[in-house]
Amino acid sequence: MKQPVKVLVLTGYGLNCDIETAHACELAGARAERVHINDVISGAADLFDYQMLVFIGGFSWGDDHGAGVIQAVRMKKHAGERIARFVEKGNLVLGICNGFQTIVNMGLLPGFDSDYQTRAAALTYNDCGNFRDDWVHLSIDSESPCVFTRGMTHLELPIRHGEGKLVAAGETLSRLKQDRQVVCRYAASDGSAANGRFPENPNGSMDDIAGICDPTGRIFGLMPHPEAFTHPTNHPEWSRRKEDLPPAAGLQIFKNAVVYMSR
């Protein structure tokens, strides 16, 4: 019998989406384990027993010095080399919200020219000046190499962050676009570009960017929370559509990952 895909979901130090992220992975057919950051660092858990590593949402180290900053420093110093080999071996890395902020700070993204060290993008304070919880529409670049979004064109998900505005230098942005590394953008409900308009673009992110991947498409980071849409009743309008319940569309991201790793 074929072994299920194994997913390592990081926990500890103020991270907080571990249970629902593991649940989403399980619903997608994977076997998920919640592992404390210190068990990864100490080697008590062997990263190479897994095929996917998820950096999850939360407030690592309280996010007091920039979201995801200290987690990135910690992981890079103590497990950076292992994570690089993990990626090299063809495994997957997903960063959601605080996890996205972390892997951007680690330099795993954008990962131009196999450089997984350089911080070339940043996620900074929302233009609105507040933490914000709201649902957004995402338009997905179906031509992106991202393996997590294959076959997807549009998705609704919740955002819940205070620092989600993606900022990068002009040449970095151009390269991201040119290489189709911009996986998803904030959009209006009809799928057209948000063009920076609030609240469709909830944080003022450059070019409406909500998520990016590395050139291989196996490292993916996004601000919205796919693990928070794994049941039809998560959708804010489900009670208006009881006859035709919305599918739990966030799950597709995890299913795609499982399909890719089971190939």
């Binding site: 103020g14 907080n16 233009d127 933490f131 049941h231 009743t233 009881k242």
Partner: protein, 998 residues
């Protein structure tokens, strides 16, 4: 040598934090500011090499894409620079995480005395601002002198080399810990010491204390233990345990109640036992889902075969009133420790909030410490950070504005948790301590925080004395502890767990040691934030984020290993015994030796005189107002009133869907912008069951009669729960009483007897209604001194007392979340039913308040009639016959019809002549009466017969329909058109007051 690192956003990036300051300065003080740039400062009090400095700056604290930084002051242009930093001893959460990060990166530990202090400076560009304006922004927007220090620099004063200088707010006590003996020669001596030490001992308790310590047997035992007269540790312990906060002396008091209107006199011995405990215990016999009530940190109900839910509610009023952000974050993080400390521990799954403050735009002559708008800003942010950073959704809450809360604000925080019904094969809700178990303190360290609550004087500040009495909660430390304790629980390592809240170790160890029958605590083991605390301070400090755990010695090693893995500090501070004694030592020297049962015997009950005068005898009457003619304008005005209008800006700042189980969110409808009646979560992700939660507070009715305030509040909470699909057969209640002082004093509290009578009536109304509706009170708390003395323009102080306030929360279990209903109307053509009778009950209503009246006819609850009606509502939901359900609450039918239409982004036609009512008084009575027990329900035409069959014989009528055209179209009692208002206009009016805060 200390190093000061300054970090700012690159100049071409928008500074969102600065822009908020700019916006508030404009809105609050009408100041014209061109720009504000924030500089984050880390003052690292540690010797560092050049390369260490570089690594710290580049690898941790500077984002190369967005930030600039330097150890010299950053060159940012300003007209005024305002620096804000903490006072010594105030919890600096970012400073602590900076230490963790630096230690990790440079591979070197900070030694005691070394630290990192964070602060900020704001660079303000403005042509028009003078020094007075800069001071005003510093003091009234950016800082609070209780916890922070401020410096203001003009451009001319600024030294580009030294900048703000090096400011190190380190605590230096230079004090040798000392146990002091308290002489007990006579009552007067003890009273004097109580006053001098701020112990607040009740004068009737003093003879009991003296008698105990003079008892020859006690004297002999104590002599053997090396003690004579009581020590300050012992007296502080007794004072904490006997405080109203810990012992609930008011609720356990004896009330002599006299009804002046009827002459009837009666005595109520113990409000808690009579009106809370007795009815709840009776209901526990009837309701098998009630698992554990009235003894633990929170109440426990059954969620499903394998899980229990846990609920409790708290207030954190006085601290929030002094320092809004710190008080509120400490409040929410604190209440989250209650479910964590219930049974063997439960996981937190939801929180809610309730804020009562003065009028947001108050422009009168009284000067509260914090203006209501500033207080509200701080409280909102405190709960936001406390909830969001804990990873717990905050999907529900309310805000109430009333001048009575200017004296003291109210901050309600409620917490729900979930636990497996069995832990390691044992019932999860049960726990005990046994002789030999280790007393372990987990989490934060102990400082002078919260000693004697907020009564400590602010005059004692000096440069290096800790500002101990106001705290700042630390959700990060607590989240780590939460994850650790749940893992330890699941491994069966926890015998008992409870939180350290009011009274600190004194309460938590004192109470848990009652199970084993004694304890021996070694105070020198308790980890401290800084040296120099006296023994009694260690014992009663309320430093946050701490739990006390009983661990079997065999499990010590494993427990400590898990604690290290989670980066949580845990320390064995003593042992539970069966000696019958609370025994405390410090480096082997005795500090306390008191009989465990001393606190449970012999203390006199508090006594209150309560005098009731009914509203007629108090001269209340209905105002004389003719029917208005412009209902369109009136409706728009009503819906934009501060106590009704949209609070979207708060709901959106709170993460309300973390944990992935969100079912009914705080904002619902087509545009997701109207408040839902209640919230529903799915706390067990593999289950289709839900947990429904709602709360209500309608303090306004107390100005007529707290009895009806109470009944209507409970009724509203229940209707909210029913409206989303809650089951009337399974409702657990939580009561949070916030009352002004009820102890009569002819000069200081001349209406104390009336307020006491209001409390008796409120408790009795709650007991009667909860018994009839079979709502056990799973948990509750009281906060009894909601009064303030505010300075006026002539140097006088005026007492301002809050309305007698009850916040009532309800929860229940839903078998199938897909049966949930939301309040927004769904489709054109759906029929609009009004359920429940509208009576002429506008007393203390929003409508009368619009005209400055109180009135007389307060809404009343008919428990029996509503019982039948609510059962029918539950049935209609179970049979999926309702397309939308919404309760009619504050503001009345007109306001709530409008909200249903806004939610659905459709129109409604309503014929007032068909609304169930005993009499058709007038259109304004029907539209703005706040009669209890009513709902607006929409029904698809094909469900008409089935729906009406359920409600046959009940006051229920089809009075209108949902329309495609987005208009609220109402015809009057005479069937003539009354008003026709565009839904867009209503929405605009509803959102306008606070819309720009989003």
């Amino acid at each position: 040598m200390p190093h000061r690192l300054e970090i700012a956003l690159k100049p071409d990036l928008l500074d969102a934090e600065g822009r908020q300051v700019q916006k508030k300065a404009a809105a609050y003080f009408n100041m014209d500011i061109a720009s504000v740039r924030c500089v984050h400062i880390l003052t690292i009090d540690k010797d560092l090499t050049d390369s260490q400095q570089r690594v710290i700056r580049d690898d941790i604290f500077t984002n190369p894409v967005t930030q600039v930084s330097g150890y010299a002051p950053l060159d940012i242009d300003f007209d005024w620079c305002i620096w804000v930093g903490y006072r010594p001893g105030v919890k600096d959460n970012p400073g602590e995480t900076a230490v963790e990060a630096i230690e990790d990166v440079i591979g070197e530990r900070f030694v005691p005395g070394e630290s990192v202090y964070t602060s900020r400076r704001y660079c303000i560009l403005s042509d028009s601002m003078g020094i007075e304006d800069a001071r005003m922004i510093a003091d009234q927007l950016l800082s609070n002198d209780i916890i922070q220090q401020v410096r203001v620099f003009s451009a001319a004063e600024w030294d580009r080399q030294t900048g703000i200088g090096i400011i190190i707010p380190r605590v230096k006590l230079d004090h040798v810990p000392t146990v002091t003996t308290i002489p007990i020669d006579d009552d007067e001596t003890v009273q004097k010491i109580s006053d001098a030490r701020n112990l607040a001992l009740n004068e009737n308790d003093i003879p009991v204390i003296r008698a105990y310590f003079s008892d020859p047997d006690v004297v002999a035992e104590r002599a053997k233990a090396g003690l004579s007269d009581p020590t300050d540790v012992e007296i502080e312990y007794i004072s904490q345990a006997r405080s109203d906060h810990c012992n609930h002396n008011t609720f356990r008091g004896r009330f002599l109640y006299r009804d002046r209107s009827t002459g009837k006199v009666e005595e109520i011995d113990n409000l808690f036992k009579t009106f809370i405990e007795a009815p709840t215990l009776a209901l526990q016999q009837k309701k098998d889902w009630v698992v554990s009530v009235l003894w633990d940190n929170a109440g426990v109900g059954r969620f499903d075969e394998n899980h229990y839910y846990v609920i409790t509610g708290e207030t954190h009023n006085s601290p929030s009133n002094m320092e809004a952000y710190g008080g509120a974050i400490t409040g929410i993080v604190g209440v989250y420790r209650d479910p964590l400390g219930t049974g063997k521990g439960s996981k937190l799954v939801m929180g809610s909030y309730g804020y009562c403050v003065g009028e947001k735009n108050y422009a009168g002559e009284l000067k509260p410490r914090l203006h209501p708008r500033r207080l509200l800003d701080g409280v909102i942010e405190g709960v936001r950070d406390g909830g969001n950073k804990s990873g717990i959704p905050t999907p529900y809450g309310q805000v109430i504005f009333h001048p009575g809360y200017m004296g003291k604000c109210l901050v309600f925080v409620t917490a729900l948790g979930i636990m497996p019904s069995l832990v390691n094969g044992e019932p999860a809700e049960q726990k005990t301590t046994s002789p030999g178990d280790l007393i372990v303190m987990c989490g934060g360290r102990v400082g002078k925080d919260g000693i004697h609550g907020v009564t400590a004087s602010s005059e004692s500040f000096s440069e290096h004395t800790p500002a101990g009495h106001v705290q700042i909660g630390d959700p990060y430390t607590q989240k780590k502890m939460h994850d650790f304790l749940l893992e330890a629980r699941d491994e069966g390592l926890i015998q008992y767990v409870t939180d350290n809240g009011g009274g600190g170790l004194s309460s938590s160890v004192g109470e848990t040691a009652r199970f084993s029958g004694g304890c021996h605590v070694r105070l020198e083991k308790v980890p401290l934030k800084y040296e120099g605390l006296d023994q009694w301070e260690i014992w009663v400090s309320e430093s946050q984020e701490r739990m006390t755990v009983a661990v079997h010695p065999d499990n010590e090693q494993r427990f400590m290993a898990l604690s290290r893995k989670h980066a949580v500090e845990s320390t064995v501070i003593g042992t539970y015994t069966d000696s019958g004694k609370l025994h405390i030592t410090y480096e082997e020297k005795p500090c306390a030796f008191v009989n465990m049962d001393f606190l449970t015997r012999g203390f006199p009950q508090w006594v209150f005189e309560a005098e009731w005068t009914d509203p007629d005898d108090r001269g209340l009457f209905e105002p004389v107002v003719s029917e208005p003619s412009d209902y369109g304008a009136l409706l728009c005005d009503m819906i934009s009133r501060p106590n009704i209008c949209s609070r979207e800006w708060i709901a959106r700042q709170y993460d309300h869907e973390v944990q992935g189980g969100s079912v009914i969110k705080p904002l619902v409808g087509r545009n997701r912008d109207v408040n839902s009646d209640a919230s529903v979560i799915r706390p067990v992700l593999t289950s289709e069951r839900g947990l429904v939660f709602a709360q209500a507070a309608i303090p306004f009715y107390s100005s007529i009669d707290a009895w009806h305030m109470t009944a209507c509040t409970i009724d509203e909470a229940v209707r909210r729960l029913l409206a989303v699909g809650g089951d009337f057969d399974h409702i657990g209640g939580v009561d949070n009483f916030c009352w002004p002082n009820i102890q009569y004093d002819p000069a200081g509290n001349p209406d104390g007897k009336f307020k006491a009578a209001q409390l008796v009536r409120s408790c009795r109304a709650m007991a009667e209604l909860c018994s009839q509706w079979e709502i056990p009170l799973l948990s509750g708390k009281d906060s009894m001194y909601v009064d303030g003395h505010l300075p006026g323009p002539y140097g006088e102080y005026r007492k301002v007392s809050a309305l007698e306030t009850l916040q009532f929360s309800v929860t229940g279990v839903l078998e199938d979340i897909k049966k949930c209903v939301t309040m927004d109307v769904k489709a054109p053509g759906d029929l609009v039913y009004i359920l429940g009778e509208t009576k002429n009950e506008r007393g203390a209503s929003e409508y009368y308040d619009r005209f400055g009246y109180t009135g007389r006819n307060v809404p009343q609850v008919d428990a029996q009639a509503f019982f039948t009606r609510y059962k029918a509502v539950t049935r209609a939901v179970k049979e999926a016959l309702a397309a939308s359900i919404h309760g009619i609450y504050r503001g009345g039918l007109g306001v709530h019809l409008a909200l249903c239409a806004i939610g659905g982004d459709l129109g409604i036609f309503l014929d007032l002549s068909r609304v169930p009512a005993a009499e058709k008084w007038s259109n304004d009575a029907l539209l703005f009466s706040e009669s209890a027990g009513r709902f607006i329900v929409t029904v698809r035409p094909e469900n008409k017969d089935a729906f009406e069959a359920i409600f046959s014989g009940l006051p229920c009528a089809c009075a209108g329909r949902v329309t495609e055209e987005k208009i609220l179209d109402i015809s009057g009692v005479n069937r003539a058109p009354l008003c026709s208002v565009r839904i867009d206009d209503l929405r605009y009016a509803w959102k306008k007051p606070f819309g720009d805060l989003l």
